[in-house]
Amino acid sequence: MRSRLSTLFDALLPVLATLAALAVGAVMLLLLKANPLEAYAALWDGAFGSTNSFAETLVKATPLLLVALGICISFRGDVINIGGEGQMIVGAILATWVGLTFTSWPGWLVIVLAMLAGFIGGGIWGGIPGFLKAYFNVNEILSTVMMNAIAVQLMNFLLRGPMIDPAQAQLASKIPQTARLLDAFRLPRWTPTRLHLGALIAVVLAVLVYILLWRTVLGYRIRAVGQNPSASRYAGINVKRYVVLALLLSGAFAGLAGAVQVYGVNYRMITDGSASGFTGNAGFNGIVAALFGQLHPIWSIPASILFGALLVGANKMQRMVQVPSALVIALNGLVVVFVVSSEIWRHRRQKRRLAAAKEDDSPPNPGSDAPVQTEVSS
């Protein structure tokens, strides 16, 4: 019974940490002369208050989950991918191009091709830093930060120029957006909400990524390279190739997130000149969601939903209580810091449990603990 309770506690740790962060937020709300109860009621309402709200939460969570899946792969390969924003953009560009070019093809085929294009586009944009890291020792934090900025300018260039909506090109104002995708090319929605097929695709992929990482040779090798590159090299694994693959796959999922956003939500690609105008910071928030989910694809599902709920609810809170949007951002930051800091309790409790288990075991069996421990704690 106690172990069930402690399992419950571990699972709820991110939620408890979020509540702690919201408590600090309540102080900030009071200082801003807003009513915290009213504010948080609005937050809850915005995230879960109605079918429509919950649908909005899921819509927000979808790109987070897809990016998170990619992050699970890359972090397990011991590669840090903070290029999600750029990869989303490039994936979306390629996917949109497919939809605008093959206008006479059947809808389902174009959708499949477009998702594939998003996967490929993001894969290229992630593969380049991977290649640079493996063969030129260029650190991936540097290259992905740079690639993000380059992707934004590329998007601006294309959306203002070659890919601009012909209807816009004639106007003096020239909004940087592409033409609208044909109705046949849109991802089906669960009307009257905005919840679209992309959410289901993401969940299915989460299962597939789980299988990939733990049930295939490819996944095993990525994890091996991530945990111990020298031992892997000694065992005959081409470390460089798997470093590239880790970043490539990670980028591919982010690219797919971008494609899903275009085909499921906006039905065109549009920008205000910044990265986050299109991505909504999903490239970064997806990293947070992955870590909330312990870098496990299946756990990333509730983690993404929780985070999506927070983001959607906070916007609603801003509207209802009319606090500055800056508070929402600060709150976002607080939640991240609190949740990530709370991990230590889970870690310590696991250590204690394992230590207690060792004492109970007789005769002591030193070999059997190690592999289990690394699986559970990661």
Binding site: V138, P324, A326, I329, V336, V340
Partner: protein, 310 residues
């Protein structure tokens, strides 16, 4: 038309502009170098910068005292650094993520304070340009190197000081040891926690100054999110510079000079699409790093929390 780039005025302009632009990157990146050398990655630099920028701006707005403003910016940055240190060292949180959390918090809080305490965009009289007597009269070089404000000079003086501390002092040795092999350092009696606290707080302090160099040095104005990605570039530059202050200087200068170059290209009317021009500094930074021969290994314990085995 490209030939107009090669006039003396333009070259002097590009170099002088580049030196100015590099200032905040230098402060932030040198600070981050200390942290990373001791094994800690701080992605929250930009949040610290914005808070420092606002603090400095507000002090000057209210009192006009520049020195006090820089001091307050340093304190604000140090406090953020303290929080980061606690989360990183004591709570052993995932460093990349906690950094992003602090970044978001810093962006939001600085904007909130701006809206509540100032309300609207204002300008102040910040650090004036100080022409170093005699040296600033050298044609060309004078304008490039010797005609800037105090905070700009400070950033460049920081580089040899940082180099000295990191390479020629016991503290530097300890930092290096903690970053390479914290277990070994711990067994030799070095306080891993103490060293990391020091470097993280120092990083925060310098980020605060970086912010001040923007709001009361270069721009004399504060605006929400005015750093616009600067902090992340600064972190990237640490990698570019191979965790060495002089390397970081090279990276900051390269990035800023190319940025300055693309501005001149646009101003002179050279027909490159503006988006492509804006891309140039980022592309070039990657290309230069690819082409450079040195294969510097980073601190082995970077991003790995240290836990004393009791």
């Amino acid at each position: 038309m490209i030939s107009s780039l090669f006039s003396v005025t333009v070259l002097v302009g590009i170099l002088a502009s580049g030196i100015r632009l590099a200032t905040p990157y230098l402060y932030a990146a040198i600070g981050e170098t200390f942290g990373q050398r001791s094994g800690v990655l701080n992605l929250g630099v930009e949040g610290q910068m914005l808070l420092g920028a606002f603090a400095a701006f507000y002090i000057v707005f209210v009192t006009g005292n520049l020195a006090l403003a820089v001091l307050v910016a340093m304190i604000v940055g140090a406090l953020m650094g303290l929080a980061m240190a606690f989360v990183t060292v004591n709570l052993q949180a995932q460093q990349g993520i906690s950094g992003i959390g602090f970044y978001l918090f810093g962006v939001g809080l600085s904007d909130l304070l701006f809206q509540k305490m100032l309300g609207t965009v204002e300008t102040v009289r910040g650090f004036p340009k100080i022409s170093i007597p005699f040296l600033s009269n050298i044609p060309g070089l004078g304008e490039i190197f010797f005609n800037h404000n105090l905070l700009v000079y400070g950033a460049y003086l920081l580089v040899p000081i940082a180099w000295f501390v990191l390479n020629k002092t016991t503290l530097g040795l300890k930092i290096h040891a903690v970053g390479e092999n914290p277990e070994a350092a711990d067994s030799l009696g070095v306080s891993v926690a103490g060293v990391r606290y020091f470097t993280i707080v120092l990083g925060g302090t310098l980020s605060g100054v970086a912010g001040a160099s923007l709001s009361i040095g270069l721009l004399n104005v504060f605006q929400q999110n005015m750093t616009s990605g600067l902090g992340f570039i600064a972190v990237a530059l640490v990698y570019f510079g191979g965790w060495r202050p002089w390397g970081v200087l090279g990276g900051a200068l390269l990035f800023s000079m190319v940025n300055s170059l693309q501005l001149w290209i646009q101003v002179l009317g050279i027909p490159i699409p503006s988006d492509i021009a804006v891309m140039m500094p980022y592309v070039l930074t990657i290309l230069v790093l690819v082409a450079s021969v040195s294969r510097v290994r980073g601190p082995s314990a970077l991003t790995k929390p240290f836990e004393r085995e009791d």
